[in-house]
Symmetry: C3
Subunit: 207 residues, 3 copies
């Protein structure tokens, strides 16, 4: 049995949506937002990056508007997190969350770069669009919560997404097999992000 | 004599623009912005939601750019509020403002959902676009004023817009008469918003 | 030898990109952002206004995505500022910066209005798009740094951009020679901005 790349990318995209919606819902709950605010932030974190990317590459309406599965998934996840809010003191642990988040970031970075390339965007901009897909939702969350976006002040996060997206762009330029390129890009982002967390890597210049 | 739906929607849209521009100008004046800042915030509150909606549904350039009546109306309203700033300590009362604001919200929610449907957007996304049209300008105002958007932390506001937009989407799906559907949607949003204010309704989870 | 208007506009655009990227990088460094954050803010300040304009006038993908020279220039400038950060205590002086910034603002205002007109946008909206091109990047920087945009609270800045863009729009309406119109628009913005700085001009209503 053979699973096509389209299926893999779609599954990855939807899985990333779930992870990021859950994160957004938790952040909103910690700030004391009501159920509606929680749903908005879950939606924005999960789908905001992809929506900005789609508008910028000329793919309006964005897939989050065109395809009902994306918003439904984000809202159901937000609802689920809200329903389980009593359990959040015990589970899931920070390690599990960090790994899930790195996975979501990797999936979005790869999917974003692939989509930008498929719309005829050049290599540098496509790598940036991959990064934007991964981090855009988080930036919008922080803007809505009126704080400096975490990715601007903290460790290697967007840089990992950019590295993963760059691997995808480079692999496509070299005409390597699509599946291998996507896998290598996701793995690059994932490992870089977790290694940065584990060993406390930072870029120069931060405080 | 018969007034077409197009006329009604346009009038509603322009009336909503005036109400929201006035609100934005007042908020900007309370934060000590100068005349230019007041005009910007008036413009953003009145037209920001519709502009984001138009970009997302693939209707660029947005009507606020395409049709000069929208910006002119927003600016004239902002100027008028600024000119009357000495009078603001006495009038208009909070009750009048709340009713006007609920009216503007209702009109924008209905017009937004109708426009999204007319661009072939699916039902769920069209309801969200209606809500976004109603609340987007206020969110942009709060982002510019560097505070957490009011609609994320406070009572039933965006929820009312979503309910009104959903009525429009459902009515269109059932092929009910356009005018009745628009009226029912606006009324739903308007009554829900005012009832929430009057009885202090809140969604669960807020602080 | 004759230099075409297209060349002049492109050079102006790229020069404005460098000036604004440098300003963004300095603002990011003063807030303690790391190298990545500095690059993001440099990119956003230099290219954010033009990107929003292009999306709004229906010119997606924006030239910052379509043309790799824009992001490369912004990033190289950000890197250069970061590399020279030890020198920033002494040079460049505030006066030099202010003049450069006024030049960038003027160039962007003119280029933005011209581009909007060339996409068939009406005169009022085209003047607004020129202003947006000039100030949009700075507004996005302030939103990302979680502060009220400087242009909303301070002196004549966006107003100068609007005046310059209006001169361009009016000149085009009167079918005056393109080069003269662009020069007059840029000069209007530049002189107005520097005069406002020099004589402390302010709009009414500010604090």
């Amino acid at each position: 049995m053979r699973i096509g790349l389209g299926t893999v990318v779609l599954c990855a995209d939807l899985a990333g949506t779930v992870v990021f919606a859950a994160e957004g819902a938790m952040a909103a709950m910690m700030r004391g937002l009501d159920l509606f605010g929680i749903m908005v932030v879950a939606f924005v974190v999960a789908l905001g990056g992809g929506m900005i990317r789609d508008v910028l590459i000329g793919a309006a309406p964005p897939s989050a508007i065109r395809d009902w599965r994306y918003p439904v998934l984000a809202f159901l996840t937000g609802l689920g997190v809200f329903a389980c809010r009593r359990l959040l003191h015990v589970a899931p642990g920070g390690h599990v969350l960090a790994v899930l988040d790195a996975a979501g970031l990797s999936l979005f970075a790869v999917a974003g770069a692939e989509k930008a390339l498929s719309y005829g965007i050049g290599p540098l901009a496509a790598a940036l669009m991959g990064m934007l897909t991964g981090v855009g939702g988080g930036v919008m969350r922080d803007v809505l919560l009126a704080r400096v976006p975490l990715i601007l002040v903290s460790d290697i996060y967007a840089t990992a997404a950019l590295a993963g997206a760059s691997v995808v762009v480079a692999g496509r330029r070299l005409a390597l097999p699509t599946g291998a390129v996507a896998g290598a890009g996701a793995l690059t982002c994932f490992c870089l992000r977790l290694a940065a967390l584990r060993y406390g890597w930072r870029l120069p210049g931060g405080t």
